[in-house]
Structures are given as structure tokens and as C-alpha cells.
Homo-oligomer: 298 residues x 3
């Protein structure tokens, strides 16, 4: 059973409920054919949404994806590509943010060139800058939309206040806010990010939904508690693995979260896809929450 | 002079400015007649609003109130009953939250059964859950409203962001947000909760307005400072007691707060009612604030 | 080249991009003629906006300004006067807040009397009080506006939530939120204040944009780092001084910030005016940010 699909907001793109991330892909050592087979393995289980960024691997993440798409051109129409802009050195030696109009436009041109495609499905501002000018971003988005080079627009790591600011300048919706959360990182549940997504009916995307592996390897008291509880829930669900339960836990929020896998291993992608079919009870979900906070529910 | 009354929001219920709480009522050791006399004593001073919850005393708080109402049926139309749902074990051994539609409906049915009444005046979601689905809650509220089993709906312990989320799904207003505050617990003044209530013209309710008695007994530096300042203000107001001044302090906010008494002692209820007639000056109010924060005003 | 001008919001007043503050003016030891010459020196570089408050110097700041305006009446129409109300002892011995209607009206009457003018260009509520009644403030503002005694209204030190509350009660916009920020004090960039200003297209004013001199004198690690980075940026900009770079840094935010100078020294005012022409790159701005936070950008 392939994983399900959702539209991220009214008028937004349709994504697979689990996305494949390419933040670490330059370390996978895949040539173009191997990368294409990896994408195919995801497609086999229903993962069609590919999440990358101009900055990942200093451009190599997009380049490797582009190599695969060039060698296997039929793949392009079977996937949605999400990329990001706004982080770089921009001709200096200091890594910083630039979400000015020229920078956004140039970044998209470079991404399209590296990806060997004529459009991306969604472009996200990678990080909010304290200097960000919402009118300038809106102007850039409008131009990219009119040209057809970018179909949808969103943000990443924005606070509710920043999301509201940028949204106020656009004639079309921001289709996602890609933020960090996992059973070990609960901030978006508490700081209003997920409240806002649910209120606006916008799907968030979750980066590091497995806490970059800390869920499995960390010796912190929090990780030890959460790992034990995920295992217990997995057993109750008929033997689901810890990463499946962790992903199902992230998927469970009513805002229609799209967690992003970080792995480059086909077998782990296949396993992860099984999370979509798991249905945690409220009790099971909140036991993991309590294990994470270390405090009883009030 | 009976205490005054307010409508909690446009179209909302009319409550007495001070409510009687039943969180601890299973410890009062009142039989049905004694409980009825206790309610009558409140009515004598104008307290008509009774605040309880499905979870208080594991259901016994509602049961004891119902026993009194059954024995003295004329009481029902002289009071407003506020109850709450969403906390429990729900068939497990783990205390948690369930604000799903079936759970809300079932909880109200059980509350009505225990209370021996055909309706409650207001139903509150007792605690926000990180998993709460606003559409599902709205659906349950709509059904309960149509059936006449619940006249008004509100929340308890919600952040401004959660209040805005749930409110966005309803065709009628949330009539209150019942939160903790007192001269010893200032969070709602600082975190936007009272700003939101004032902006939306919704009366908050205040639980533990006397800080569960810590105001009178705690040796913390904060409590000692606040107690001294309340006593000084009481003297200036012609001999008002510390609990009267503390309640008057909570009542003083322009959002029309309804503080909830926790006591089961008739004489303390009578004394507390006197708070409604006290009029603290801004200077007196802010002296108590400064005593609580331990810092001069900026 | 005189410094530029901005309208603080749609329908709002037009201010110089840098304002002159009078918080410390009673310590300058200027007689009326000297004060007039100081104002003239500001006008020479384009500073027309004068920021004071009823409480500054216990009324003496307004009085000294009034002495200068009385002696040199032609000055009045060449400047915009911003004053503030709501802090005082109000007949007690306890410094506190009173933003009740009678207090606001009385404060403005006293300010006009001290300033020897028939109107101020903008009146700000000096500090948010936890007791503030937005309807009462709105009522006072409406009356002062109708009488022509105050042309525009704003606030100071308000949180976004408090700004939204008061704004919800007014038929005209709040024209500014005067808050503290500088390269050493970043809170408004983080807590949503500047997001809100940008979203609503309202110019904030910045008090202590040079951190009351700590930028130049403090030995804290943060100040040492920021001072070094400001100096480096100044050198890159062809020899701009540290205070010029710091002011240019504050001016750079897209919300059209109006920083307020605190100095009474003509030569420092002249130097500061040079900040308006400096154009920091995003890289330079963010290097100062990183020096202030002590952490790399995420």
C-alpha cells in the first residue's frame, strides 16, 4: 500500500505524506544511475516529494539530483521538487542570509540549472533573516510565479509572526513552513507554529523527524526515555520499528505534517514508508510526549 | 449588596462576578442537604456561577452537586453550571487528554447524568492537547449546541494561539478562557492571555485566585512581600481582609475577570463576596504587582 | 545632504529618519537660547523630530524645550514634537502607571503648558500597564484628537499583543511603537515587535540605539565584540565612526526605524546625521548581529 498524499493547503501542491530529503546526499556516493534507483525505490512506496536546497552540499545536492534527472528524464514528472534559497556567502567569506529580490531570482536560476529542470514545485525561504524585507520577497515570488519557474512558495524555520508578515504581502498562500520537530524536539507544538499551521490549514514539513539519529543513539536521559516508550508503542502496534513509530508520531498531528527522511539507504526508506499506515492512539502519542518532556501532563 | 453580574462576551452567558469552584468538593464531606445549604449561602451573596469538571474528584464533584440538585430541584434554575471535559484515563491506566468528538460527547452525557440536569450552561475543554484537532472539537460543540445539552462553550488553560485556533473554527464565540492567575501568579498578564481576552471582549475566569492558599501560608519571599502589601492595602480600604483584597485585585482587570473560589466554608464565601465592592486604586494595584515581581516598575 | 524623511504609517506624521531625544536634557545645562541653538543645529542636518515625555526630568525636559520655543517662536513650526504620558506618582509617593482617561487628558494639558505650544504632533502611552483599559485610552485619544491638541497617537514599549489590543479600539492607526533596540539589544528583532511593525507598515522608533553609550564603554564580551565589528565595518565604509555605523545598523531594518539620539552635544548630533547616508550590506549587518549574539547564524 503506497503512502498517502495530501494537498498542503487550498490551492497548494499535492505532496506524498512522507518526503525524501537530500541534505546529506553528497555523502551518499551515488552516481546518476544509483541516485535514479534510489528515487525509484522511494516512488515504489509512494514517496514523490523531494526536499533539497541551494545550500545543501554547497550546491552538490541539487547537482546530483539533476544528474539523475538528466540521465532518466522520465523521472521529473513523477516527483515534486522542493528547494530553498537565501543562505550563502554571496561573494563574501561570511556565511549569511540574503532574501533580497536579485538573490532569490539568481538562486532559483542556479537551482534550475543544477537540477536540469525548467521549474521547481515549491521554493522556500530557507531561514528568516532579521533584515528580511517582505515586500521584496513578495516581489521576487510574484516574478518567479509569473515565469512558471516556481509553482508554489513557502518558508522554512519561520516563527508564526514571520509567517504572518510574509503571508500578508502575498496574493497566494504560503504552502508550507518547514520546521524542525521530532519526539525529541517539541518546540513547534508549544511556540504556536503548529497552531498557526492548523488554523490556516497549511501543512508544515518536519525536518529531522528522527532528530538526526539521536533518537537511536543518544545517551541523554530524554532520548533513553523516548526510545523506550517508542519501542513499547511499537510492540503494541504489532512490532513496528522505532523509526516507524517516531515517524507515525510526527504524522499524527492534525495539521497534516510531511516529515522529511534524511537517510540515503533504500531499506530504511522502505521501512519508513510503513509509518504512514500506523495509527497511534492519543494515549500512545501522549505517553511519548510525557517521555520527552520528563513531566506528567498537567 | 449582592455581587454584580456580567455577560462574559457578546451573546455569552451571564455569570456572577465571583464563581464558586468545586474542584475539592469531594473533601468537604457535605451530604446533599448540606451541599444545597452551601449553594444557598453563595446565592445569598449573589454567587450563581458554579465551576466544576468531569475530572474533579474522579466524577464525584459532579455527583455531589447532582445529589444536591436532585434533592432541591428548584436550585437548578438559580445557578449556572460550568463543567469541563477532555482529561481522563479513557479506558487506559495513563491519565491523558482526549478532545476527540466521541470523547467530548460522551463526557457531556456522563456529566449531565451525574449532575442530574438536562443541560450545562457552559462546557470548557479542560486542557489544550498538543494533538487537539480544532475541526473535531468544533464538530462536537456544534452537535451539543444543537441538542441544547450545552448552551455555551469555552476553554481552559489555552494559550492565545490555541484560543485563536479553536475560535477560528466556530460560528459562535468562545465565552471564556479559564486560566490560573493570582497576585502570586502573573503569567496571563505577561503572555498575552489577558490582552487577547480584553481585545476580544471575552471574560477570563481565574482559577486559584488565592494561589491555593499559598498567599496566606507560604514562607517564600514573594508570598511574604505580597501578603504584607495586601494587608497594607486592606487597611487603607478600611479593614478589608487579605483574601478580599486579593480577589479585588484579580477582579480589577478591565477584561471582567471571574475569579473562582475554592473554599467549602460558608463564612469564607460570604467574606469573599465582599471583594466585589472593593475598589483598588491603580497605585494600590501596582504596589501589589511590584511586591509580586520583586522589581520596581520600569 | 540633510537626512531623509519618512511618513511613519499611512495617514501618520512625517518624521526625520533620526530624532533628537530629550530624556537627559535637564542635565545639559542649556539656557533657552542655548537650547534653541541646539535645536537649530539639529535642523541644520535635517533632524526635525523631537522626542520627549512628561516624566523626563520630572517635567523639566518639556519645560526647557518650552523655554526655547517661547524665546524663539518660529522654531515650533519647524519641528515635530513627540511626547508621552502615563508614568508618574499621581498624587502618591509611589511611581506607577496611569493610562486612565482623566490622567491622559491632564498629562497632555500639562505638557502643552510646559512646552508653550497648542498641540503636540504625537502622543505616546509611555509604558504598557498590566491594568490598561484599551477603551479608556481610545476614548481619551479620540477627545484629544477632536480638540486638535494631539495630531497623532502611538505607544512605547508595547508588546505585539498589547499593540494589537489598543489598535483594535481605534478608528485611526497607532503611528509608532517606540522601543529599545541597538546592536547590543536585539529583543525586538526576535519577539515579533519588528515583524508586526513591518506587517502593519508602521515605523518603530528606537530608544537607546547606542545602548546608552555601553556600546563605547562597556567591557562586556558582547560589547567588545560588537565594538570591534562596528569599527571594522566603519573602516570598510571609508572611515565611518562607530556611532555612525551603529545608527546606520538600526536604520537598516525595512520597517523604517527612527532612532532617537540621546546626546546633548552638537558635534555628536552632526556626526550622527551622517549615519543616514551609510548603506550597510546584508553581510556587514549580519556580521554585527553575529558579534552581538556570539553565535554563528543557524
Amino acid at each position: 500500500m503506497p503512502i498517502s498524499r495530501i494537498t498542503t493547503c487550498e490551492g497548494g501542491p499535492t505532496f506524498s505524506r512522507i518526503a525524501q530529503g537530500y541534505a546529506s546526499s553528497s555523502g551518499w556516493d551515488y552516481d546518476a544511475d544509483e541516485m535514479a534507483r534510489f528515487i525509484e525505490a522511494g516512488l515504489d512506496v509512494g514517496i514523490t516529494t523531494l526536499d533539497t536546497a541551494a545550500i545543501y552540499g554547497g550546491g552538490r545536492a541539487e547537482m546530483l539530483l539533476g544528474d539523475a534527472l538528466e540521465r532518466h528524464p522520465a523521472l521529473r514528472d513523477r516527483v515534486e521538487i522542493v528547494t530553498k534559497c537565501g543562505i550563502g556567502t554571496f561573494g563574501t567569506s561570511f556565511p549569511h542570509y540574503d532574501a533580497g529580490k536579485p538573490s532569490i531570482i539568481a538562486s532559483v536560476e542556479e537551482s534550475l540549472h543544477r537540477l536540469r529542470t525548467d521549474h521547481v514545485d515549491a521554493l522556500l525561504i530557507h531561514r528568516p533573516s532579521p533584515l528580511m524585507d517582505a515586500d521584496e520577497i513578495a516581489d521576487a515570488f510574484g516574478e518567479l510565479r509569473a515565469s512558471g519557474k516556481v509553482l508554489h512558495f513557502g518558508v522554512s524555520n519561520f516563527t508564526p509572526s514571520q509567517f504572518e508578515l510574509l503571508g500578508s504581502r502575498l496574493a497566494f498562500p504560503l504552502v508550507t513552513n518547514e520546521v524542525q520537530f521530532s519526539p525529541l524536539y517539541l518546540d513547534p507544538y508549544i511556540n504556536g507554529t503548529l497552531d498557526q499551521c492548523q488554523r490556516l490549514r497549511v501543512s508544515p514539513m518536519a525536518w529531522s523527524p528522527l532528530a538526526r539519529g539521536r533518537l537511536f543513539t543518544s545517551d541523554s536521559e530524554q532520548a533513553v526515555r523516548v526510545r523506550a516508550e517508542l519501542a513499547a508503542v511499537g510492540a503494541e502496534l504489532g512490532g513496528a520499528s522505532t523509526d516507524q513509530v517516531a515517524l507515525a508520531w510526527v504524522l499524527r498531528h492534525p495539521s497534516n505534517v510531511v516529515p522529511i527522511l534524511g537517510t540515503g539507504k533504500t531499506e530504511r526508506v522502505r521501512a519508513a514508508a510503513g509509518a504512514d499506515a500506523l495509527d497511534l492512539s492519543r494515549e500512545q502519542w501522549l505517553r511519548v510526549w510525557v517521555a520527552s518532556t520528563g513531566e506528567r501532563l498537567p
